[in-house]
């Protein structure tokens, strides 16, 4: 888990350095404003119910999150959306790709009510076929 989070943090930093990476400039400013790219410091977006945000977090919550909070959300989604009989929660959908997909979807003007876990499950489903 720690190794993966380190990788995520690295990707986040790399992405922050690249123009246009990961969405609009507004979110980059948000991320920059926090001064930290380590997901261990961030809390996932959305209301936490019974210990998890996964059930209710939606695109409206995503839009309001900082980059770090969104990455923490992807982390939590991945953890929960793998088989409950599996100890390994790795996903065929890489975190950075999941981030991009959620970011793209949630930027649609009608998307605020879409639940993140439903989007993630579908994207994860076809991930091995995507580019």
């Amino acid at each position: 888990m720690n190794a993966r989070r380190t990788l995520i943090a690295g990707l986040a930093l790399a992405c922050l350095a690249a123009p246009g990476c990961g969405g609009d400039s507004g979110e980059d400013e948000k991320a920059a404003g926090t001064g930290a790219a380590d997901t261990r410091e961030a809390t996932a977006v959305g209301p936490r119910v019974a210990g998890s945000v996964v059930q209710y977090a939606d695109c409206g919550d995503w839009r309001e999150g900082t980059r770090q909070e969104r990455e923490a959300t992807v982390d939590e989604l991945r953890d929960q959306l793998t088989a409950q009989s599996e100890r390994d929660t790795s996903s065929p959908l890489p975190d950075d790709r999941a981030y991009r997909i959620l970011n793209k979807t949630c930027s649609q003007d009608y998307a605020s009510s879409l639940r993140l876990y439903k989007l993630f499950a579908k994207a994860q489903g076809f991930a091995p076929l995507g580019e």
Partner: protein
């Protein structure tokens, strides 16, 4: 499509004989309202009413009886008006007067709490907001985090104990069916057949019946909503809440032998009605309005009938039987009477929602004699969303004798009347995303502007990050293609596509949210395309036969190779398997353009307008229009070139790798 839940098990399908009569093992039967009033019923009757000494309930029931006699009422918008006879007027009046005298409760939850096995809760007309339940804390520190149950991947879920100890944390009304026993297994068992004995307590509220006493289901409203327009909450059953006080309106947990009858649930943040790990449950004359996720949700539940119902206003699906037991083609000795349907949805209207019906791992569910209309999509059953849903892969669904029409509601726009929570193709009658051994027959499927029926494969590697939930039982139906457990052995026959049933009239409610539809005067109401099949390479035994198209002939059915979509690609026609007699003759040869389309759709909405880009998020053009022809033509041209493109070749390689 899909939701998250504690590690869940299918209950033992045998009756529990520790209570008399035995609980479960079959669908329970209804005890009459008359018997509740005259004492000739087993179990104790507890009556709930509103107003001082039931005055408000009597006022409501008197008005309702008068109204039902004079003007009539409908249980389902698609059905004729029902008027009470003079005898029924006398009966309802007499019964409710007797019930009023027995009324001791103002709260449904309190009446439930006081009940035991075989008891009954009769609710007189009124709107029940359950103020005490609403005051119950969410994330109550009494239960959270100490009663959070971690699944094997470490994800937190509320345990059964959580629900029992903090019943109104998530639920407006909670029915605890069984006593608490020991803790659940430290890690979920991979065999989900049977609730682990260590955590399965004795029956404490088995064979419970909860019912409304008015002539109409809308006379009793169980309401978890808030923020209604002034006066509307009490006056109008279809009033829309702007907020939700609780996640679930009525939850029946391990409540074997439950009967729910003659009421409306409204305004759940998640579900109107929810049952989990229950054996034997009948819902009759029930309505489910304005719950954000699902109107009805049954999960790992057996011997379930849902009938005479009406549901709208769900951001996912109006009705959802998910993780249904393996009583179909993957049945083991655990189900000695298999194959059989474990859940039957019949005589219901599913409307005005993102989906009319949905069910991940909807094994052996029968959907029959319903009207499904005015949704974004009609029916969706999938294998894709396996997380938390035992029963991989979905199989043995049966959809027959339904009217499935005008599912063209586009909620993907600013300020939609129902907030969509999920992304599904607008304009589709039925979607099977990973299904085996289904039977779709004798339905009228018309006026769905994208596709009448879609069938697509979900290779194992695409499921749930690569793993099924719990054991996979024998009988997987694509045995000759490694890594491909769906979609094989499905049959689509004797359906009438794009035809208008004799005497059909649109129910007024189809226009509730301005769903695009054909005019009533049209003699034909074609689908955009009747049958869409992804032709996934290695899929076998899928057969289409005896279906007729808009002009009443088999030749007018549209499908692969038709409708201008993929003109040059095989199959030119849908495999008929010689009228179903030689299913082995059907073999998917692959269509990389269609797979690319699905991959793009899996990545959610965007603004791409490429002909192969996903177009699920907008209203399809009306069939037969110039816009529809143009779209089909553009798609066909792009699809024909895609297989030869570099991107197409890369995708072909990735598809092949999935099956290695």
């Amino acid at each position: 499509m899909a939701h998250l839940e504690r590690p869940s098990y299918w209950p033992d399908p045998a009756p529990d004989t520790s209570v008399k009569p035995a609980a479960g093992g079959k669908v329970p039967s209804i005890r009459s309202l008359t018997s509740a009033s005259n004492g000739r019923t087993r179990g104790k009757v507890r009556v709930v009413c509103s107003g001082r000494k039931g005055k408000e309930s009597m006022r409501r029931v008197t008005n309702s009886i008068r109204n039902a006699r004079k003007r009539g009422y409908k249980i389902r918008p698609s059905q004729p008006t029902i008027k009470l006879t003079k005898k029924q007027v006398r009966d309802y009046t007499r019964i409710n007067k007797k019930l009023r005298k027995k009324c001791r409760y103002k709260s449904v939850q309190k009446a439930v709490n006081a009940s035991g096995n075989n008891d009954r809760v009769v609710i007189m007309p009124g709107v029940y907001t359950e103020p005490e339940s609403r005051r119950g804390r969410t994330n109550d520190p009494k239960c959270n985090p100490s009663m959070i149950q971690k699944d094997a991947s470490g994800s937190p879920t509320p345990s059964y104990r959580y629900q029992v100890e903090c019943p109104n944390d998530q639920n407006l009304i909670y029915v605890q069916g069984r006593a608490l026993a020991g803790p659940p297994p430290a890690a979920p068992r991979s065999n989900r057949q049977g609730i682990p004995g260590q955590e399965l307590g004795r029956c404490v509220r088995c064979n419970l019946q909860i019912e409304g006493s008015g002539p109409k289901p809308t006379d009793v409203i169980l309401d978890a909503g808030k923020g209604y327009a002034a006066g509307q909450q009490m006056r109008s059953p279809s009033a829309k809440p702007s907020g939700w006080a609780k996640h679930v309106v009525l939850r029946v947990d391990r409540g074997d032998g439950f009967v729910g009858r003659n009421f409306l649930t409204r305004g759940g943040l998640e579900f109107g009605f929810y049952t989990e790990e229950t054996d034997g449950i009948l819902l009759d004359r029930t309505k489910f309005y304005w719950s954000a996720d699902y109107g009805h949700l049954s999960f790992t539940t057996d011997h379930h009938i849902l009938q005479n119902c009406d549901a709208f206003g769900a951001g996912d699906a109006a009705l959802y039987p998910g993780a249904a037991p393996e009583t179909g083609s993957q049945a083991t000795k655990f189900y000695p009477d298999a194959p059989r349907p474990n859940t039957v949805v019949r005589l219901c209207d599913m409307r005005g929602s993102q989906l009319g019906y949905s069910g991940s791992m909807g094994n052996a569910v029968r959907i029959t004699n319903n009207h499904i209309y005015g949704n974004g999509g009609g029916i969706a059953s999938d294998t894709l969303s396996a997380a938390g849903h035992p029963g991989f892969p979905a199989d043995s669904s049966q959809i027959d004798n339904n009217y499935i029409y005008s599912n063209n509601l586009n909620l993907y726009k600013p300020n939609p009347p129902v907030k969509p929570l999920v992304t599904t193709p607008v304009g589709t009658g039925i979607i099977y995303a990973g299904m085996n051994d289904a039977r779709v027959h004798d339905n009228w499927i018309f006026d769905n502007w994208r596709d009448g029926v879609m069938l697509l494969a979900v290779p194992d590697a695409l499921v749930n990050g690569g793993g099924a939930e719990g054991d996979v039982f024998p009988g997987v139906s694509c045995p000759t293609a490694p890594g491909l457990s769906t979609s094989c052995g499905n049959r689509f026959y004797n359906n009438k596509m794009g035809q208008v049933p004799p005497g059909f009239k649109f129910p007024r409610e189809v226009d509730q949210f301005d769903t695009p539809r054909s005019r009533q005067s049209q003699k034909r109401m074609p689908n955009g395309n009747d049958f869409w099949w992804d032709e996934f390479s290695g899929n076998t035994k899928n057969c289409w036969f005896g279906n007729t198209g808009p002009d009443g002939t088999q030749a007018s059915v549209t499908g692969p190779g038709q409708a201008g979509r993929v003109a040059a690609m095989p199959p030119a026609l849908l495999p008929s398997c010689s009228g179903g007699s030689s299913p082995g003759s059907s073999l998917g040869l692959g269509d990389v353009a269609k797979t690319q389309y699905l991959v793009d759709c899996s990545n959610g909405p965007d603004k791409d307008t490429d002909p192969l880009a996903c177009d699920w998020w907008s209203s399809p053009p009306k069939p037969g229009s110039a816009a529809a022809s143009r779209r089909h033509s553009q798609y066909a041209t792009a699809a024909a070139g895609f297989a030869r493109s570099a991107q197409g070749r890369r995708l072909t390689k990735r598809i092949a790798a999935l099956k290695e």
